[in-house]
Amino acid sequence: MLNKLARWSRIKSPWILHLNSGACNACDIEIVAALTPRFDVERFGILLKATPRHADVIIATGPVTRQIKDRIIRIYEQTPDPKFVIAVGACAMAGCVYRGAYNIMGGLDQVIPVDMYVPGCPARPDAIIDGVVKLLGKL
């Protein structure tokens, strides 16, 4: 019973933390666009939170630059359990056009575990919503 309640509330109230690990901005802008009237993810109870302490889902973009790698790990560890990670865009999945550049790690899953991949360059706001919905469906 309690478990069911917790599961339900978790599905209904995913608060997200947006994390840019060296992306080109486009994916980030599209994430922000998903908050605005046209896509309005608050419909699903999704709120953008400022600190990892309040977040449930980390939505990360970018190929993970060397400089930011440690911070990504730190933020991941700061987020209270249960937590989920969505990698948005080709960068966060596999490094995109930057594959082979000296200053990137080449994708988020090289650094922290990822639960859902959203392809696109940039991923459209609706594709991002689709990714979140699929993640929630998995719970």
Binding site: D109, M116, G120
Partner: protein
């Protein structure tokens, strides 16, 4: 300077239908020439590797499975693809062996699920009306 200059606009919208689309329950339409996901029509491919060479994101891989039988394997890594359609532009065959559709909701929980591959026999170059593509025009 007026106090509460925004007020009329806000109140007007209180009674208007929100601009929100009912997304996951109603799919959005994409424009006609939307750049979605590239796919291969293996029966047309002549394995010239122009797409592989021009792809900016190393998303296309062509491997020889059996050189003698002219069997090849092409993998499109959708996790790397940036949906630029350069591969379509670069493909020298008519009709194009490389094409792009308008799918974009591909989210998956495993990168392997994002790969698509084809194993096929290399198509014979059809006698071309124009000059054979010695130098495939990447920007046309």
């Amino acid at each position: 300077m007026r106090v509460a200059a925004f007020l009329p606009e806000l109140l007007r919208h209180l009674f208007k239908k929100p601009a929100t689309v009912d997304y996951p329950f109603k799919k959005l339409e994409v424009p006609a020439n939307f750049r979605g996901t590239p796919y291969l029509r293996p029966e047309l491919c002549i394995v010239c590797r122009a797409c592989e060479r021009d792809c900016p994101a190393e998303a296309i891989e062509i491997m020889a499975v059996n050189e003698a039988e002219k069997r090849f394997r092409m993998v499109i890594h959708n996790d790397r693809c940036i949906h630029c359609a350069q591969c379509v532009d670069s493909c020298p065959t008519t009709p194009k062996a490389m094409q792009i559709d308008s799918l974009y909701e591909l989210a998956a929980d495993d990168r392997h699920k994002l790969k698509k591959d084809w194993v096929y026999v290399r198509a014979v170059m059809k006698p071309k009306p124009a000059a054979p593509a010695k130098e495939p025009a990447p920007e046309s």
